[in-house]
């Protein structure tokens, strides 16, 4: 099971630029590594990350095989209104990992 750590300010002023940090556990298997008998281990990386803020997409990233295990992404957005930030990571296996965080905007 994947684990994620999210760092979002609990409160912010309207119009403030806030920094969001996300960390998720994932092997990020590149597809280039041989196993013990020399067979390539199939690629399995998180290929997409999306963050939505009250349902509106505010950040998206496409990830590639050179990205290290347990990808750490930080980005910023503007605090517009109180609500929920949704985070979604999708890997090559089609597995989806989701997390949320609440924010109060004054």
């Amino acid at each position: 099971m994947a684990r994620a750590l999210i760092n979002v300010p609990k409160t912010a002023k309207r119009g403030q630029v806030i920094e969001i940090k996300t960390l998720i556990s994932h092997e990020m298997e590149t597809g280039f590594r041989p196993d013990r008998v020399g067979k390539l281990i199939p690629r399995d990386i998180i290929n997409t990350f999306v963050c939505s803020y009250n349902g509106i997409e505010v950040f998206r990233a496409d990830l590639h095989p050179a990205i290290a295990a347990n990808p750490f992404l930080t980005f910023t957005t503007v605090a517009t209104e109180s609500g929920v930030l949704d985070f979604k990571w999708t890997d090559d296996d089609g597995k989806i990992f989701a997390e949320k965080a609440n924010i109060v905007v004054e």
Partner: protein, 254 residues
């Protein structure tokens, strides 16, 4: 650069005095501000993912006894506080010191009646990181147990021994040349205060023994099996050398 350092090392004496207390520095002190920030901030420290796994295991019933660690030890922040700072400790049943991983596995087999967790396995690293992080910030305080003395001395012998195809001792790098560069890496003082830790090069958590194996391979010396008594003796010596430094588990290292 590498060759010239090696030339210096080969000429240097194998034994030197221990680093004075005031000059002791954690591996942390040699890191870049970015790597320090990654370790300090618990939501960006990848070792915390493993600590959370450990917390889940702590509370999960397992084995023929169907008991969780928490059933006997309750709240780890209380019962396990300071434990990592004083391991390895003497185990009367085995007649020799055991490290934290072995102590945890003893509870797994004897108290939970479950199979022991293999060295470097995800679950053992997770439990060990979870137990050790309860001592985060506490100074390393090796026990004064006289029964440990011969084992600590055996560890010191290995530390001072010139070995491998490069004919180097641990002390030649870590006592005599700490702070200098070996290729891209800064040579730290070899303190065991962050383990298990997340190493960026590994892209994973690893134990002190994995780190020691890396150094032995770098010296082109023969390394030991995980769990070998030599590693425990070395750990005992490294812990006494690091007395007073704070536990940083889960640390981050380059």
């Amino acid at each position: 650069m590498l060759l010239s350092l090696l030339a210096v090392l080969l000429l240097a004496p194998a034994h030197a005095a221990e680093i004075p207390q005031a000059e002791k520095k954690s591996g942390y002190d040699f890191m870049t501000p970015e790597t320090k920030a990654m370790q300090d901030e618990l939501t960006s420290n990848p070792g915390m993912l493993t600590v959370l796994d450990g917390e889940a295991l702590w509370n999960r019933k397992t084995g023929a006894a169907n008991r969780a660690c928490a059933d006997c030890h309750q709240d780890a922040s209380n019962s396990m506080k300071g434990v990592a700072a004083r391991y390895p400790a003497f185990d009367a049943a085995r007649g020799r010191p055991v490290n934290l991983d072995q102590r945890i596995n003893a509870c797994r087999t004897e108290r939970q009646q479950a199979t022991p967790l293999p060295p470097e396995s995800k679950d053992l690293l997770a439990l060990s990181a979870y137990v050790a992080t309860q001592s985060r910030g506490m100074p390393i305080a090796p026990p004064d147990d006289p029964r440990l003395k011969p084992f600590r001395e055996a560890g010191e012998k290995i530390y001072e021994l010139r070995q491998g195809q490069l004919n180097l001792s641990c002390g030649q790098c870590h006592d005599q040349n700490w702070g200098k560069k070996l290729a891209g890496a800064t040579i730290p003082q070899a303190h065991p205060n962050g383990y298990p830790l997340y190493r960026l090069e590994w892209q994973a958590m690893g134990s002190l023994q994995r780190r020691l194996r890396n150094c032995l391979i770098g010296m082109r010396a023969e390394h030991y099996e995980f769990g070998a008594p030599e590693y425990i003796d070395l750990e005992l010596y490294l812990m006494s050398r690091a007395r007073g430094l704070p536990i940083e588990t889960p640390a981050v290292r380059p």
